[in-house]
Amino acid sequence: MEKNKKFNFTKILAPIVLVLLYLFFSIFGRNFFSDDYLINILDGSYYIGFMAIGVTFVIITGGIDLSLGTTMMCAALLGGAAFNIWHWPMIWCLLLVVFVATAIGFLNGVLVAYLNLPPFIATLGTQMMGMGFGAILTRVQTMRYPTFGTPEGWFKNFFYKTTAGFPVGIFWLFGFFLIALILLSKTKFGRYTFAIGSNREAARLSGIKINPWLTGVYTFCGFCCGLAGIFYAAVYTSIIPSTGNGMELLGIAGVVIGGTSMAGGTGTLVGTLIGVYIMSVLKQGLMSMGLQSHWQTFFTGVVVIGAVLLDQYRLKQGAKVKK
């Protein structure tokens, strides 16, 4: 019953908010209802989308990953170093990005699962470590990915935009989203993710080996951050060392707006994706209205609280029973 309610909310209310926001800005924003803005909305949320997909799994297990943003940046920095300094071929650089991020995710998993650290603390630690590590290894230099038309520029055409200007990134994000959806709902991995989040001890006593699966979840989240890093690099080209903290909150905010509870055990990826796009529409919409960037920050905060309050209100009873 409760779950159904939740599904209804995520499946109907959040999309409605998204559509209403879009309509609102289409009326009041300058040129908002246009291909250009639509593309901006898509482009600006690839990296957040990948992070949010990954952290949805983590949040369903009842955990949190504060290292999302710095993991992404650290990995992208190292990939950039491979390209700029060691002159690896692009494809290897990209594999390195994914590898580094996955490794950090794995580290998070080991800390949380095997060493039993609270996820908040473990990932706070790796957040700082990742941020420092990337800067140390690249000697605090900005790393630049190839731009359109340069020898390795296929990278951008492949992940970001075709030469004709079509935002191919969207296919990647949606493709990956579908894979994640199947992973979450149709595989052992997904089921155990829910089981661990719902009642870790019951899962353990059912013979589920918590530690490897939980490590797997964090590793998967790291992997998603790696993908996020690739798309960040594809869209923004330059990676500045010692940045990325704060971005995790965008990813998490997307999940939260999408109706996934921080308590674990429930959550939907569809909600997450909608949450990410609500933030993106809000951001672009406010820009189209000529409001400066801090209005976005403010309203994103309002939306985060509003979304959860709404959810809370609808799930009031459910929450009481659970408590």
Binding site: R30, V140, Y232, Y236, T243, S288, S293
Partner: protein, 338 residues
């Protein structure tokens, strides 16, 4: 709703927004906008390391169908594609402040900016021109080496790297002339240079803050001060703020009773605290740009381009060195802001 077709709309994207410097640029731009009857918007990312925010702003600005764009890029590569798009769409782009260095051919019509390397070199010249600094340079030996330092808020932005490079190169030149082969540049790989002889009498220390926040700039300044340098050049408002808060707003640099009374510090730009420090001679002086004219020229160049006039590819908006002695000269005072 679209703006009336007859008022051209020019979007300006700066590198920041918080510092008075940018507000002055905006004021200049606004003045030009009124003069030429165009509409402008002015926005910039919260911090000078927020590349993605700037790119998003630029994308939004382009989606707003501007007649022209004025841009001070945090990083050239990250906006290359947008510049190309503008070129295709025929939206003229004018660079301002540090502009868009190394932009693709023909994508930038013109740039209204300070020659940052020259500004850095100016600081080096001024520093070496101070008697006690020169005495220290000539008097340094490899057994009693001295340190000259430059503090920068980041190693990313073109204007700051330009100033840093300008300063380091000129200082190296000056010192190497006095002490051939005994000068080394340390601190950051980008500028690192071992001394030719292997011995070091003069160390030019480049210190880059961990982030652009004041707290990190302050920590960087503290660390440099601990090395007991003869002179320090702070390359922008951020590092000046860091320096000031590391020295009790500069009062530790007081010529008579300050803890570091022999330390020579040169700043950049202006602002109430820096002006105060210069006026009290805590800072020896500072290099100032002309932010108002940067903004004014940027819009003027855009308007001229829109009108089909030919414009120069670079308009140097100039820079000046000021000390407590000349800061009230009308010509200089006009460039300074609280």
């Amino acid at each position: 709703p679209a703006v009336a077709a007859d008022t051209p709309y020019i979007a300006m994207i700066s590198k920041g927004f918080q510092h008075k410097f940018w507000q002055t640029v905006q004021a200049g731009a606004q003045a030009a906008a009124e003069k030429y009857g165009v509409k402008i918007t002015f926005d910039g990312p919260p911090s000078e390391s927020d590349i993605s925010v700037q790119v998003d702003m630029l994308n939004a600005a382009m989606a707003n169908n501007p007649a022209a764009l004025c841009l001070a890029a945090l990083d050239t590569e990250s906006v290359t594609e947008q510049l190309n798009t503008c070129k295709e769409k025929g939206i003229p782009v004018i660079g301002f402040d540090s502009g868009v260095p190394n932009a693709p051919e023909g994508s930038i019509i013109s740039t209204a900016s300070t020659d940052n390397e020259a500004a850095g070199a100016l600081a080096a010249d001024q520093m070496a021109g101070i008697e006690k600094v020169m005495a220290a340079i000539t008097g340094a030996t490899k057994d009693a080496p001295i340190v000259l330092s430059v503090i920068s808020q980041d190693a990313t932005s073109a204007s700051i790297t330009g100033r840093t490079t300008g300063f380091v190169n000129r200082m190296y030149e000056i010192c190497n002339e006095k002490q051939p082969g005994l000068v080394a540049v340390t601190g950051h790989d980008k500028w690192k240079k071992a001394s030719e002889s292997g011995d070091v009498a003069i160390e030019i220390l480049v210190s880059i803050a961990a982030s652009t926040s004041v707290t990190d700039c302050q920590t960087a300044a503290q660390a440099v001060i601990q090395r007991g340098p003869v002179g320090i050049f702070c390359t922008n408002s951020g590092s000046v703020d860091g320096m000031l808060s590391a020295t009790a707003d500069g009062s530790d640099l007081d010529r008579e009773k300050g803890r570091y009374k022999d330390l020579v510090v040169i700043g950049f730009d202006s602002g109430a605290t820096l002006l105060n420090a210069v006026r009290n001679q805590w800072f020896h002086g500072a290099v100032t740009q002309d932010p108002y004219m940067i903004g004014f020229y940027a819009v003027e160049l855009a308007v001229k381009t829109l009108n089909g006039e030919k414009v120069d590819p670079i308009v140097d908006t100039g820079c000046q060195y000021y000390t407590y002695q000349n800061m009230d000269d009308p010509a200089i005072a006009a460039l300074l802001y609280e």
